[in-house]
Symmetry: D2
Subunit: 153 residues, 4 copies
């Protein structure tokens, strides 16, 4: 993933992504961080810790969903104008394998950038002893918000 | 929701749901609790706190996804045999409105109980000043796991 | 389904739905018809015929998808202004049971009506010897198109 | 797409796909044909004709769904044992652009092959004056059926 070929609308797109991400209480509470931003692409890492697991000791499905929703959202946000905000319209995730290991990587990538709606795809990689396994597959729709202060990015 | 008419496979189904839920580090870390369990139905509450919000101050989409995935999963689990485990195969969530207020309620309900696969629907309600707004709509597939110790509920 | 409580934006909403439906080559080619229109609700029937089956003799998954996508779309369209067009943004369908019998009924219902995006839920009922079985469950996002002649309804 | 690296379970996998496809009344009624089969990959073509359009003259969303559901299903089926049947569990499709042109190409590809469940991704390409535009994006879950005569492939 990440071989997209989009032009960013602003020079400081990566800075804007990281600044917006830092305002997400949910991400820091989970221990997630942005590891890479390119135009139309974003990667988020989530290290293993007991606070984000489910009853069998795997990463919680909600943890996968949270980081890949976020990665997809910022992949789109990286291509937006400075005044645009963003909202998730919907997303769908398939869990392909138990998510275990030392960390998860969520990668989001823009498939279609639109004036109103943007579609991304994403995947969640479980890294165990250095080996990568795709454990989540996502498809997502995002909405660009313009001229509404309350939801600006 | 919750007008389902399923027979539980075990007498202590509610206890089993609550015990399994209590092992989910993710749920307690977010501050979520099970508020109701009936055969084929489960409700989870998530009180407002900064640690589960996104950049605009609304509840994070991942928080909605986490609790409604969990509510749907336990709605199914409530109908399973004592030895069965459960895994989320996939789910899809539509965000209908900004999720704000004093708390979220996630309600999951079994639509079709199967030997291998079970399908649920769910919704997330935002409670603001006592008024309820549906802010999330979910559809989910779950897999029953039998005879695999590693993923027992 | 169908207990929605929406006010139609136009008096002749049912007529507009039926007229638009009649322009869908796909629906008449499959043999589908609109059986009921109410504000925010639409039902489509698809009688059994060999031309819409799959390799095992059940109704084809694409046939289920086609009629429930259409039912959801017209459920939304029934609430739109006379000049508005409509496009499907995305939908997701779960196949709950083999779809067999003398006919299928697809029912679409608006969950959230929006200025730009509208969300519906739907189900497909297989009628066999007069007995109804839910064989499909759908969740859908639609976009209202205003002022674009090329896609007017 | 189509750079998968799966080993077919049978020598005559392509023949089995084409034979099963030929039994789908829905596909021939729409005018769709299999254009390519490789292990874990299948492409279906749907030439333009009035019988598969919607009210604005674009290909019907149900037509896109039908051929990409089928392409994904046969991508999985190509990796199954000779006695295995297949059923669609669920799929989700995003419509990225109006589907117009001389034909549609649906491409399905296996992401994760499982004993019980297999996950595929797919896309629908609209070919207009020889130019290709991605107009549909799909994610799908399939179930392998073993030892049930009624649904054998």
């Amino acid at each position: 993933m990440g071989d997209t070929d989009f032009a960013p609308a602003t020079e400081n797109y990566a800075e804007r992504v990281r600044e917006s991400f830092s305002k997400q209480g949910m991400m820091s509470h989970m221990g997630a961080e942005v590891t890479e931003v390119r135009p139309g692409y974003c990667e988020v890492v989530l290290p293993h810790r007991p606070e984000i697991l489910q009853q069998h000791g795997f990463f919680h499905g909600g943890a996968l969903a949270s980081i890949v929703d976020t990665a997809g959202g910022y992949a789109a946000f990286s291509l937006f104008d400075a005044d645009d905000g963003i909202l998730t319209v919907e997303f769908k995730i398939n869990c392909l394998a138990p998510a275990r290991g030392e960390k998860l990587l969520a990668r989001g990538e823009v498939v279609k950038l639109g004036r109103t709606l943007t579609v991304t795809k994403g995947e969640v990689i479980a890294v165990e002893d250095g080996n990568e396994t795709v454990c989540g597959l996502m498809q997502q729709t995002l909405m660009r918000i313009t001229g509404r202060d309350s939801v600006k990015g």
